[in-house]
Amino acid sequence: MAKTALQFRHNGRDVAIFVDGGVNLLLALRELIGDMTPKFGCGQGGCGACSVLIDGELHLSCLTLAETVAGRSVETLESMKDGPNLHPLQRAFADNFAAQCGYCTPGMLMAAKALLDRNPQPSRAEVVEAISGNICRCTGYEPIINAVLAASASRARA
């Protein structure tokens, strides 16, 4: 199968890969780049486990054709930490017990980051709306909502 050269920014680094036609961004990230933080849950845009930021905007990587990110910037959970230090959202998720099996957590955190980046002081309703595309089958939504609000509050104090 003919492969297409693809160059983009991945977590602040320039990367270049060759992809098969039709390959989605999730597979490109996991299998070709080796970034395992976005998860496969459904491959149909139904669960949000594969959520990533493209040029700062929240996207489902399983529904994004890999070739469409050429020249753009893709951000995953891998880049959220600042060196050894957790991002305030990561700290808040841990402190608020906002992860159980952990499988939805990467997508949840990206959805939460996309929200706080554009709206640092969201209301509870805005948090609920922001994570409404992410399924947590352990159904730990309350701690997740609390964590996002706590991260927002801690940033406001800082």
């Binding site: 496969f40 849950g41 959220m80 990561q90 841990a94 017990f97 099996c101 952990g102 955190l109």
Partner: protein, 529 residues
Amino acid sequence: MLELRKDIFADERDDNLKEIGKGTQRQDMLGHVTGTSTYFDDHKLQGMLHLKVLRSAHPHARLRRIDTSEADRAPGVRRIIRGSDVPRNLNTLLSLINFGKDDEPTLAVDKVRYKGEPIVAVVADSPLEAFEAIAKIRVDYEPLPAVFDVEEALKPGAPVVNETYPKNTFTYHERYDHQKLRFGDVERGFAESDHVLEQRYQMSPIEHAPTETNGSIAAPDTNGRYVVYTSTQALFFSLDTCAKILDVPSNTFHFIGGTVGGGFGGKVDTLTEPLAILGAMLTGRPVRYVLGREEEMQYGPPRGAERIFIKDGVKRDGRIVARKITAYFDSGAYTRLSSYAVVKCAAHLPGPYTIPNVYGDIYCVFTNRTPATAMRGFGVTGMDFAIECQMDKLAHLVGIDPMEFRIINAYRDGDMKAHRREAKNTALIECVQVAADKAKWPLREEFKRMSSRKEGGGARAEIPPTPREPVASRPAPAQQRTSYDRGIAMPASEQRPVAPPPPPAPPSPPAAPSHGATRFSSVFGTRRR
């Protein structure tokens, strides 16, 4: 008796185990929030192949012919696996504890019994090539009449789903077609009641829908063994199941797991590991077998559907005096764990209430539906749904507050439960009181003052006379012996209470139960030590 050597590492131990209310952090939290927790599918292995299965298009059909010749030649195909390639192509999960007969093939050979049953596996260089090869396999089906309803399945002349169990019911202790509970005389209880209420409840199958689908990766290890990364919830159970199906010693495998992307009971069936390992054995390469979302939803085993009939007799003062339950658990086409769910259900009757006359018949029924499995309290949850709906209706019927109605009937310490064990450490009354308080539900003072520790026992500790039923002639297998049964003095007028029947006199001290019986005491009815 196990001796705990507390002197070893004494300076490193903390015997203060008071953890409740502390909010101790999970040990895997850091991995979860940084995305570094390693799930089975996060392993990338050199030369990894991909396995997909062809699934039955019919709920019940004879397989006349399976033609894989075109698929064999399809691009990227490394190996096609058929039922005849599986060393022991018949298994039942609980055979590991000697419970039930082998009834389920890894790959169907002569017959399919539910829509979506695996027939052929294809190992290929990529998932896409595996799917394309599967589309080239031709299966000649002879559709058979199917049965999807538990009560229909028990009627004479119903299609036989699974030839291992020709009556379409699981066989307990090699002779019983259901689990039976008899305590007192329900018919007399109904006659003495002011109201009798009979209702039918129907549960649906429920898919666990874990965010991570079932799957595993098996790879030849450097020491002649196979390393298996898996989503299983039951690592050693799956390991032993694979050893049986593949007919090798269990130390052939090194299973790595424990980080599970949501299970809820849906990842105990060892759905993918045997074929992934067999693929690795036959190709010498790492093989990955992961269910897609559609496969997980359609063919992943759900919580089994239950049909429950409850007939209760209640007095005007709110006391339930008789409860008769008939329930049918839909096991689907194979046993998996439904046999065990039925045992749990029978042990749970009549719910957390003291009722002097109880009658229960619980059936594990085979139908041409997706095999059911474990899910969060299976065997008990569905029955509790029915019982608690019934409690609300009964409370309404006698005009008593539903919370107070539950307190009136709640079991208390010292009461005799229907399966002939004394109720201990009961707390239903306290639970209702707390729930009422939290919900700002008004309880009358006398109900606020009631306690599970008071007014139990006495007449409530007695085992009522129980009418005799025809006794089966064959002696019970040894595994049914329970230390509990020995402890109950049975008056001559007393009848055989429950299946399993009372055993012969025990040795003293009691013989140790078999290996499996200790761990799975609820399956066999042995007492936990």
